[in-house]
């Protein structure tokens, strides 16, 4: 159960090999976390993630091979989460893929795949778990969005568009499940230094996965609806979102 300080005893990470997702679990493991389920496509990555969590004392780690862009995989994931965890307290939707914004590297198949990885798949998982939680009568979803989705930039427009979609979906879902005892927290990090961003030019206010994890757990404790990492981005984007396009287009990166 989630307790009054917002901390869960069971959790699922969709995108279970994601560095941010695992860092959040490591942070939660300092508190009340007892059992987790990691879901991702890559079996060996899942095994490595499991070892990492067991090293910090999470007793029960189960794994599920799952491609969130496949409907039947998502359905199987939700039912195996319910059977291995009992009450699913927290679901972290962390699946995503940065991809490219070079037109010559974006054939239709790649665009569809990126939109599926950043928007369609996470949306399917978020909605499926939200409806499981509505049945449970309790639960919290953490959806990893990005400031990249607040105003889509040319430098990562496909990724940004996917994040814009999942961000909007999460906010609407939050209102839709409120009266069922379920809450949704949207997390909007800036540039996070992870294996996904290795070799990319760092944006201002870059953070590490552990910074995101700390902010997410604090957000859970505070009962926050939206979390920016670092917090200053909330104000930066208040300005950036309203810049005239002619200016916004010329911004570096």
């Amino acid at each position: 159960m989630n307790d009054a300080t917002g901390l869960p005893q069971t959790a699922v990470v969709v995108g279970g090999t994601s560095e941010i997702g695992l860092a959040i679990l490591e942070e939660l493991a300092k508190h009340r976390l007892e059992a987790v389920l990691l879901a991702a496509r890559d079996r060996s990555g899942l095994e490595r993630a499991k070892a990492r969590l067991e090293a910090v004392g999470v007793g029960a780690v189960s794994l599920e091979e799952c491609d969130v862009t496949k409907a039947e995989d998502v359905e199987r994931l939700v039912s195996s989460a319910a059977s291995s965890l009992g009450t699913v307290d927290l679901v972290i939707v962390a699946a995503g893929q940065l991809g490219t914004a070079e037109l010559d590297q974006l054939p239709p198949a790649t665009v569809l795949e990126m939109m599926g990885a950043n928007a369609g798949g996470p949306a399917a998982a978020a909605v499926a778990f939200a409806s499981l939680m509505a049945g449970q009568g309790c639960g919290r979803l953490v959806v990893l969005s990005s400031v990249a989705g607040l105003r889509v930039r040319r430098a990562n427009f496909v990724y940004g568009a996917g994040k814009a979609a999942i961000d909007g979906l999460a906010l609407g879902l939050s209102d839709a499940v409120r009266d069922a005892g379920v809450s949704v927290m949207v997390v909007r990090p800036g540039f996070v230094r992870t294996k996904m961003t290795v070799g990319r030019p760092e944006a201002p206010f870059s953070v590490d996965a552990t910074d995101v994890a700390t902010a997410v757990v604090e957000g859970l404790e505070r009962g926050a609806a939206v979390v920016y990492v670092p917090p200053v981005l909330r104000y930066a984007f208040l300005v950036l979102r309203h810049l005239p396009r002619a200016v916004f287009r010329r911004l570096p990166g």
Binding site: D3, T5, E34, T87, A134, Q136, R222, G223
Partner: protein, 490 residues
């Protein structure tokens, strides 16, 4: 969201499943509602049913067992945390079962949903008071017994369970008539303090205490610090039926634990007659007059945490200053002495949407320094608590999950909605557990399950009897799931 009525085919996903039975389900009348305790957090949704009569409860339990639905009884929801919530379960709201069934000398038999407020309105004019009352009248008898509540007289008269002469308890298999040392004594003592997890209390017979007036004769003393307060209580409590101290938590350093101590007993008719200053409402001609009123209600959830604003802190400061250094024999109405918080309805809304939690612990007398440690650590941490309530407990009773045990009990309200509280209270829990103390389930919303066994060493006995009363595991609550009280791991 109302539950689909059964007796009709029900659509689940794309499948059509046949109705579970032919008779219309009792779930047809259920309402899906998001519930919380008095602290407002955590929240969870359940299917709430209000039975029209107590005879419906056993068949309702049997039906839910058949449908593999879990069940929990709920009273007025005055437990602070998640004791009276149960995500996805069927919650039986008993507040409609509120009759006084019969009286037999000092023993009154009532339905479990009767509030203390209503019971007192009925009994005080007849010259009877409840043997134990918590700090609010807005609790049900069932809820009070399930938490084995204590009052300001615990050091002399124990908790409520000791005054219950019999219980009528509903289980999925039928009703049990249980008494403290006769038949079904083990069912009795697992249900007292059993947090609703052993069955539904339908009726209780309670021994009331006689009073001559509806007044309390109160001695007030001010203590300049915690040591003096504890000294005064240790030395003098045995001479008073009721005793409590309000400890200022905003003071640091030398003034830490500045306190106002109020102690007293029911005023006799003779005391009322000879009192130089008589209260307006209660006269020697009408010594049992009793009409407590709510003076105001908080109309909606505050947009900010009003309870922590400077104005409130200033009020707190003024309250501690205005208390007389020493005043003896003041006659106070029952409500002013026992239920001062009830003058303001729905005051929990002052804490805003994040709500608050109450941290209540008891530590053995030898570990009195833990009380200071808790007040100090909370003060330093910046989690503002205005005041704490300090009492001394006497001997424990036979109920394995009953909270009171000999020692000091401290209770503080703490606003939720800021990071770091979990870590701080976890650290305090560790100190409390090491000292041989425990946290009160009726107030808790955040304890870690690992500490339950050391805080409640008799939980194994409780689980054995509980499993016999509810072999199919029909009863559960969010508290039970969070703390693994039923012995499972999820």
């Amino acid at each position: 969201m109302a539950e689909e009525p059964a007796g009709r085919d029900k659509t689940v996903g794309s499948m059509t499943v046949p109705a579970a039975n032919e008779r219309p389900s009792r779930l047809a009348a259920a309402q899906r509602v998001v519930l919380s305790g008095w602290g407002g957090n955590p929240r969870s949704a359940a299917d709430v049913i209000r039975p029209g009569s107590l005879s419906e409860v056993v068949p309702m339990l049997a039906e839910m067992r058949e449908r593999s639905r879990s069940v929990l009884a709920r009273g007025l929801g005055r437990s602070y945390g998640d004791a009276a919530t149960s995500a996805g379960s069927v919650v039986i709201d008993l507040t409609g079962a509120d009759r006084v069934v019969r009286t037999d000398g000092a023993v009154v038999t009532v339905e479990a949903g009767l509030s203390l407020d209503a019971l007192l309105a009925w009994s005080v004019p007849k010259g009877w008071f409840v043997p134990v009352t918590p700090g609010t009248r807005y609790v049900t008898i069932g809820g009070a017994i399930a938490s084995d509540v204590h009052g300001k007289n615990h050091h002399r008269e124990g908790s409520l369970g000791g005054w219950v002469r019999s219980l009528r308890i509903a289980t999925p298999d039928g009703e049990i008539e249980a008494s403290p040392d006769g038949e079904h004594a083990d069912a009795f003592w697992t249900t007292v303090g059993g947090m609703g997890l052993t069955g539904v209390i339908l009726e209780a017979s309670i021994e009331m205490i006689p009073i001559e007036t509806s007044l309390v004769s109160v001695d007030t003393e001010r203590a300049t610090d915690l040591d003096e307060c504890m000294r005064l209580m240790s030395a003098g409590d045995a001479g008073y039926r009721y005793s409590v101290a309000w400890v200022d938590c905003l003071r640091r350093g030398r003034g830490l634990g500045r306190a106002v101590l109020t102690r007293g007993d029911h005023a006799s008719l003779a005391e009322l007659e000879s009192a130089p200053k008589k209260p307006r409402s209660v006269t020697p001609a009408d010594p049992l007059a009793y009409s407590p009123r709510q003076l105001a209600r908080v109309p909606f959830e505050a947009p900010v945490r009003l309870a922590t604003l400077p104005a409130v802190r200033a009020f707190n400061e003024a309250w501690f200053r205005k208390a007389p250094a020493h005043r003896a024999g003041e006659l106070q109405p029952l409500a002013s002495f026992f239920h001062p918080l009830d003058f303001l309805g729905d005051w929990n809304r002052l804490y805003g949407r994040h709500g608050f939690t109450q941290y209540q612990v008891v530590v053995p007398f030898e570990a009195a320094e833990v009380v200071r440690e808790i007040i100090e650590q909370l003060g330093r941490s910046g989690f503002p608590s205005l005041f704490a309530v300090l009492k001394r407990f006497g001997p424990a009773n036979k109920a394995p999950l009953s909270f009171p045990a000999p020692g000091w009990t401290l209770a503080l309200d703490i606003p939720l909605g800021r990071a770091g509280l979990a870590e701080l209270l976890d650290r305090l829990d560790g100190i409390v557990a090491d000292a041989g103390g425990r946290v009160y389930f009726a107030k808790d919303a955040r304890l870690r399950p690992q500490l339950v066994r050391s805080m409640y060493p008799r939980i194994g006995d409780w689980q054995r009897v509980r499993d016999r009363l509810d072999p199919d595991g029909v009863f559960t609550s969010d508290l039970a799931r969070r703390l693994h009280l039923l012995g499972d791991t999820t």
